[in-house]
């Protein structure tokens, strides 16, 4: 020890070094993670997984569960179908925040039938607003570039006219969702709009689909998931039948004003589109899709995901046994 080092200085240096060493030790002890192996990865995935509440409304057994409206004018069709259901007021009350989930998966003009018709979308949004909804949110996580999809499908303009707020699928808008389905257990979900929403309405076009034959109100919820969705195709019927388990919407609307008859789900030519002049509103998406599949001229008996969902009691393919109405505008 050199001579010019005072006792005070010695103690000071010793204390400083001691504190830094203790701090490092304490920090390491605090941060030490003993987990390893699969448990570690499972934990990371599940750590902040959220669950979705049910957005369905309690209604008496005698209530209408599915309404089919026929006609050509979007506004009248939606009004008639909602009327036949007993009125939008049964589903949306004053102060509700309503999340509308259209299908805008592709960067396509509305005329090509690959996306939800802006007229139908606007009519549903207007009904919600008139029922006193405080805010209307619009959300989808398209396959193509999101802004382009909303813009070219006409939904950006429609949302603007009605004063609905577009929620874009930014990275931070996704969180793992605990699904516990047949195929999906935990999966990244576009959860941001659900933080505020008190009611959820799916508005899906009726489309041919190259892999699962048809994309309707059940398949529409695919658009709220994130992550590696392109693996879903490996077990597509199991995945689609998980959707009515994953989410209990307030209502689903099937937009069959125009139907994409082939080359789906993208379409791309007016020749792929046929007039359907129908809008279906319902609370049981399996029932609505069973009816919708018939509109494509196909046999609902052969659509696997419908029967898988029905077998799990997530809905019924026997819509005729339910309380349903058909109206013409």
């Amino acid at each position: 020890m050199s001579e010019d080092l005072s006792r005070r200085e010695f103690v000071k240096r010793l204390t400083t070094t001691g504190l830094v060493a203790a701090g490092a030790g304490l920090g390491a002890w605090q941060l030490f993670d003993p987990r390893r192996g699969d448990r570690y990865f499972r934990d990371v995935l599940d750590a902040d997984a959220v669950t979705l509440p049910s957005f369905a409304v309690d209604r008496p057994a005698s209530a209408v569960t599915m309404a089919i409206a026929r006609g050509s004018e979007p506004d009248a069709l939606v009004r008639a179908a909602l009327g036949a259901m007993g009125g939008i007021e049964q589903f949306v009350q004053r102060g509700d925040v309503v999340l509308l989930k259209p299908n805008v998966a592709f960067d396509r003009p509305a005329a090509l039938g690959a996306t939800t018709h802006p007229g139908i979308f606007k009519a549903v949004a207007r009904a919600c607003r008139d029922a006193g909804a405080k805010q209307i949110l619009v959300a989808d996580n398209p396959i193509n570039q999101p802004e382009g999809c909303f813009f070219k499908s006409g939904l950006t303009a429609a949302a603007g006219e009605i004063g609905a707020d577009l929620v874009l699928p930014r990275k931070s808008a996704f969180h793992p969702l605990k699904i516990d389905g047949e195929v999906l257990s935990t999966w990244p979900m576009f959860t941001e709009p659900f933080e505020k929403a008190t009611k959820v309405i799916g508005i899906a076009p009726l489309k041919d689909h190259n892999l699962c034959s048809a994309s309707m109100t059940m398949k529409n919820w695919y658009g709220l998931l994130g992550g590696r969705r392109n693996q879903f195709h490996q077990r597509i019927h199991g995945i689609v039948s998980d959707f009515p388990h994953m989410i209990k919407p307030t209502l689903v609307v099937l937009d069959a004003t125009r139907m994409l008859m082939r080359n789906g789900p993208t379409g791309g030519s007016l020749g792929d589109v046929a007039r359907g002049d129908t809008v279906v509103v319902g609370t049981d998406m399996v029932a609505v899709d069973t009816f919708g599949y018939g509109l494509l001229g196909r046999d609902p008996e052969k659509l696997e995901y419908l029967h898988r969902a029905a077998a799990r009691d997530l809905g019924s393919t026997k819509w005729k046994e339910q309380v349903w109405r058909e109206v013409t505008t």
Partner: protein
């Protein structure tokens, strides 16, 4: 207000304008703003492209707006307008640690500052042969590229202010570090880039030789205190005989002179100036010779012809590769505006001449079918301003056919239904053409466990494939995709075509060929699709009245009339009709 204060105001304005243009060059904000303005007034871009193409492309004529005042006032652009110069001056000011004496020493002219002229001569020699390299170091190209590739994605990373889905750019760190390097060099040599490297500064320096105004020192009032050098941006020796080619006309010297010995004068006496840059003729010839040899070395590397790389998939509307290299200034505005992030700055895949030119990388994104934004913002015509109809080969473009950027091929050893008995066909689902270029055949396979499995195996129809790459982008085999697009079959060059039927057959026989193929049902679909394309065109006039109110597609965001061009006429109109019957 002192003139130097006016200069700072102008600098803030032009920097703000540059940042504004850089921000709005994207889908959703592009509302007809002249986003290419800085590149269009850049005389180096105009002069170099005039050398390569023997023409002045569209907006590049605006360069006269800068060229003429330079002939009058000197290199004022460098310290009044140039955003890159402004960045360097600002950095130098902010991080200045030098005292007054050190500052004076750091602002004396150095021999090294002549380097920029040799760089310019090399670039002009290359340009004379048809290889446009000015964009490597042109400050506007360099700064816009740095923003596109490095700065904006970095800002977006924590904030999500710029993109909905994060954009990434291959080798962005090279571009980012180059920006950091040039900015940091201000601490070693003030205005390092502007004084030593900048080929645009060199161009303006040579033009300044003719300028009528300049800084003039009155030797009778001057006490040789050298205080004028304290904040001399250009290192142009205002304390003695001014080096006209180096002066940035920043007016700091006039501000700093305690004896009012300096003034900005019209036609000042010739003997007080050094009019020409400080150049050695032999070195200038040497720099030019470097270009003379570099050109054949690069071209005989074969990257443009025999050995063209399959990854060099140029955006739709691009001209053939030799002309592309005559026009592309590597400003990367196309990359900035691309909504899907498919456009990427090339490194060496398109050869040494193609560094930072745009290529499509289908792992990063895909080419959006109803989008031609890259061509709308290209200031030099390397990517032509094509309409969506032209891209899709509709209406009057039916004879020319669809613009193909490449062709997709399956790698059956990696494809799930082909190699692993697993259902998939995501590629078919997302294929945007009608009928789809990707089709599948249902097959019954017996698995290794003797189970029977029905699944669909996909194929590409090369006649219908446009090379958009969404199949590759969405393929679940994430590393080396099971379907990959390569450049062959691109329509911009007859050297790279694939199918004779696409070059020689007219559309009627083409439909017949498809109809007579081995898959009759598919042929029927194809034929009906031809009919539907016709009906698509016929549907257009009905919606005309709606569109006639606004030129172009009537959309403020689509960008199709961003340059006040004759509109992208009819298909975008159709894009806004609400239903087939309306």
């Amino acid at each position: 207000m002192r003139i130097t204060q006016a200069r700072v105001v102008a600098q803030i304005f032009f920097m703000g304008l540059f940042l504004f243009f850089a921000f709005v060059t994207q889908f959703g904000y592009l509302k007809g703003y002249p986003v290419s303005l800085f590149l269009e007034v850049d005389p180096l871009v105009a002069i170099a492209t005039a050398l390569t193409t023997h023409s002045i492309y569209q907006g590049l004529a605006w360069s006269l707006v800068l060229l003429l005042p330079t002939l009058l006032l000197g290199r004022f652009f460098c310290n009044w307008i140039c955003p890159y110069g402004i960045l360097h001056q600002f950095t130098g000011w902010l991080f200045n640690r030098r005292n007054a004496k050190e500052r004076i020493e750091s602002n004396r002219y150095e021999k090294l500052y002549a380097l920029k002229y040799y760089i310019l001569f090399w670039m002009l020699a290359m340009a004379a042969f048809g290889s446009l390299q000015v964009g490597l170091l042109d400050p506007i190209c360099l700064l816009f590229r740095s923003f596109t590739v490095a700065v904006l994605p970095a800002i977006d990373m924590p904030s999500e202010w710029i993109y909905v889905r994060p954009h990434m750019h291959q080798m962005a760190w090279v571009v980012g570090l180059l920006l950091v390097f040039f900015v940091s060099m201000n601490l070693v040599i003030p205005r390092f880039f502007c004084r030593v490297v900048c080929p645009l500064g060199a161009t303006l320096g040579i033009l300044s030789r003719f300028s009528l105004f300049r800084i003039e020192r009155d030797p009778h009032s001057c006490v040789d205190c050298d205080l004028c050098l304290q904040r001399c941006e250009g290192a142009s020796d205002p304390h003695t005989n001014l080096r006209k080619s180096e002066c940035f006309v920043c007016f700091n010297c006039i501000d700093d002179c305690p004896h009012d010995a300096l003034s900005f004068e019209f036609v000042a006496p010739l003997k007080h100036e050094v009019a020409w840059p400080d150049l050695s003729r032999r070195r200038a010839v040497f720099a030019g010779l470097l270009g003379v040899f570099m050109y054949p070395f690069a071209r005989r590397s074969g990257d443009l012809d025999k050995n063209f790389a399959k990854e060099v998939i140029r955006p739709p509307g691009s001209v053939a590769e030799p002309e592309f290299l005559e026009r592309c200034i590597k400003c990367d505005q196309c990359i900035r505006v691309c909504p899907t992030n498919v456009l990427q700055p090339a490194m060496l895949e398109s050869g040494i001449e193609g560094v930072w030119t745009p290529v499509m990388n289908m792992r990063m994104g895909y080419c959006e079918l109803n989008c031609t934004l890259c061509g709308q913002v290209c200031p030099t015509g390397a990517i032509q301003k094509i309409s969506i109809e032209q891209k899709l080969g509709l209406r009057e473009f039916t004879d020319l056919g669809v613009v193909k950027t490449g062709t997709a091929f399956y790698d059956r050893g990696r494809c799930l239904p082909w190699a692993m008995d697993t259902p998939c066909v995501v590629c078919e689902e997302v294929c945007p053409t009608s009928p789809k270029a990707i089709y599948s055949r249902e097959v019954e396979v017996t698995t290794r466990y003797a189970e029977t499995l029905r699944l669909r195996q996909p194929y590409v129809d090369p006649e219908l494939c446009i090379g958009c790459g969404i199949c590759e982008y969405e393929c679940p085999v994430r590393d080396e995709r099971a379907i990959r697009v390569t450049a062959v079959g691109e329509t911009r060059s007859t050297d790279r075509t694939l199918l004779l039927s696409l070059i020689e057959a007219d559309s009627a026989t083409r439909a017949a060929i498809v109809g007579a193929g081995p898959a009759p049902t598919f042929g029927a679909v194809a034929t009906s699709a031809m009919a539907s394309i016709t009906s698509l065109s016929q549907a257009t006039p009905q919606s005309q009245p709606k569109a006639s109110a606004t030129a172009g597609c009537g959309s403020s965001q689509c960008g199709c009339k961003s340059k006040g061009e004759p509109a992208v006429a009819d298909l975008p109109t159709l894009l806004h009709i609400e239903s087939p019957e309306s």
